[in-house]
Amino acid sequence: MNMETGNSIDNGVNVDALVGARSALTDAPEAARFTWRATCEWKNGTHTYSTVEKFFGLGGEQQHKTRFGFDADHPEIFASEDNGATPVEYVLVGLASCLTGGIATIAQYRNIQLRSVIATVEGDMDLQGILGIDSDVRNGYDGIRVSYKIDADASDDDIRALVAQSQKRSAVYDMLTSPTNVTVVVE
């Protein structure tokens, strides 16, 4: 139930809490500083196990309800054991889940009832880059495509506007479309 309009649009997003948080963080910009963390441990071969549990935000240490774990590996065609998704697939997962969560939030805010939202994500990569065959080829994706199928109580243009606004506000979309300084050290 949206308190502002009193209607029954429900995408499971608490918009009032988000609007409240936005207003609170506008007045206290230092509390808006977050640090997200993950740990990653090598298992064997290209197999790694990563966990996320704690993060920093709102001025203090925070914690997920539970510790989440992620196996990453490479498929057997790379002579690996395929114990999990490849790291580059996790990037696609990050992008799609960020955009899709954003769509639900914005839809709630705009009083649009969603019935189903399905994203298909594809990233193109030329392995000549990571294999060092051709130094003119980059390592990473040279293009990523996201395709949405959305069933909602809204016009085509309103649905397109949801998807566009979600890109505008997405952290992962921003990280992939604009450069980010990355610092790696050995302790």
Partner: protein
């Protein structure tokens, strides 16, 4: 030291409109001007610039257009002449060649220091404009020294530029206009595009500004709009004032061969980095334009005017290359000049009253600076209404703010 009730800073259209109302309300005042009347228009704008609003819309308190080209757009000499005539018409007490160097609060009000003496006053209206300085991103100083850099306040015409390629950064009205004239001068332009606001010049037989006016959008108040912080940051409409009423948008620039790339986000080892989000920025602008046109269509229908005007239409979506370049190596590319059309900001370096927020912008409530009673600001984006930065917007803002100022004085 001279004593006066009110000091108005800036003798552009906003300061002069304020002067008109202060005079009507018998509030003794002086208008201090750093240079001449209409100084910014005279000294800090490019040669080909014309107003983006039609002549009929250049309304000021006590003045309406009487010429025979109501749908034309004033060039710079005509704009300057208008503002000079208006200063005479309202007999504004302007003191020219008087640059304000400091405004301080004291026990009896404000002390205004200038290059020609000091004033003590009870109230100050800052009408020095929102477009004093060109905003340039911090990474601009990482461009190689071999690249010439200009801003819209230093650019006059393409003849100033070396032969060779030009990167124009910014796709609001300024960026688009300059990209086009530079490209047509034979210097191939690459346009870096961030958030922008696409509108057609004319719609259903009328200027877009006519619809903005008629439908009440220009008059929408800062208290009505959903998110005023966001509304104050919307880039200017992609418009040009020309005799042909032509559309200037990304498709039109693409058609003449201007290369289009994403937002300029940083420099790394002499290379410019550009965001891969251009498609979405163009989608956002297309969708937003269509929402505006939908609203105009609805207003026309609600007012029973469908038969009186041209039928509705929609414009082709913005064409974007599938994979625009993400990087320009300034050491090897043909680009010789970078023109930063990345917006303007006001200059309040002389204001020594603590009224700034953490981003250095003046905290105000529709132009009323509540942290400093008696201090007012004009001409900022969406100050009191959507049209606040337009010539046409100064009158209503000046009327209301001068009313507030009078109550304050009578306090």
């Amino acid at each position: 030291m001279q004593t006066i009730t009110t000091v108005v800073i800036g003798a552009g259209h906003a300061g002069l409109a304020m002067s008109k109302y202060l005079g009507d309300r018998s509030i003794e005042h002086v208008v201090l001007e750093r240079g001449e009347v209409a100084n910014t228009w005279k000294t800090e704008r490019w040669d080909s610039l014309r107003l983006l609003t039609p002549n009929w819309q250049s309304r000021l308190p006590g003045y309406a257009y009487e010429g025979d080209e109501p749908d034309g757009y004033r060039d710079m000499p005509e704009t300057i002449a208008l503002i000079e005539r208006y200063a005479d018409l309202v007999a504004a007490p302007v003191q020219t060649q008087t640059r304000v160097t400091c405004v301080e609060k004291n026990a009896t009000g404000y002390r205004v220091s200038t290059t020609r003496g000091e004033w003590q006053c009870r109230s100050v209206v800052m009408a020095s404009g929102a477009f004093n300085k060109a905003s340039v991103p911090a990474f601009a100083d990482q461009l190689p020294a071999s690249i010439a850099m200009l801003t819209p306040t230093t650019y006059r015409n393409p003849g100033q530029l070396e032969q060779g390629g030009v990167l124009v950064v910014g796709a609001a009205a300024t960026g688009l206009q300059l990209a086009r004239e530079i490209h047509l001068s034979g210097r191939p332009v690459t346009l870096s595009i961030g958030e922008h606001t696409r509108v057609p010049r004319r719609y259903r037989g009328r200027d877009i500004q006519w619809w903005m006016d008629k439908t009440g959008r220009h008059d929408e108040s800062f208290e009505q709009v959903d998110d005023i912080v966001r509304a104050r940051k919307v880039p200017s409409f992609q418009l040009i004032g020309s005799a042909e009423h032509e559309i200037i948008d990304l498709n039109a620039l693409r058609d003449i061969g201007i290369r289009q790339i994403g937002r300029f986000v940083g420099m790394q080892n002499g290379k410019g980095l550009f965001a891969g989000s251009l498609h979405n920025l163009c989608d956002l602008a297309d969708l937003k334009m269509n929402r505006l046109l939908d609203a105009i269509d609805a207003w026309i229908t609600d007012n029973g005017l469908d038969q009186a005007v041209e039928p509705p239409r929609r414009f082709p979506p913005t064409q974007v290359d599938p994979s625009p370049p993400l990087c320009i190596d300034f050491h090897t590319s043909d680009i010789r000049t970078v023109l930063w059309a990345t917006g303007f900001r006001p200059d309040y370096s002389w204001l020594k009253v603590p009224v700034f927020d953490h981003k250095g912008q003046i905290r105000h409530n529709g132009g009323v600076i509540e942290d400093a009673p008696g201090l007012y600001v004009m001409g900022l984006p969406f100050l009191r209404r959507r049209k606040s930065t337009l010539l046409d917007g100064a009158g209503d803002d000046a009327r209301e703010l001068s009313g507030h100022l009078l109550s304050y004085l009578q306090g």
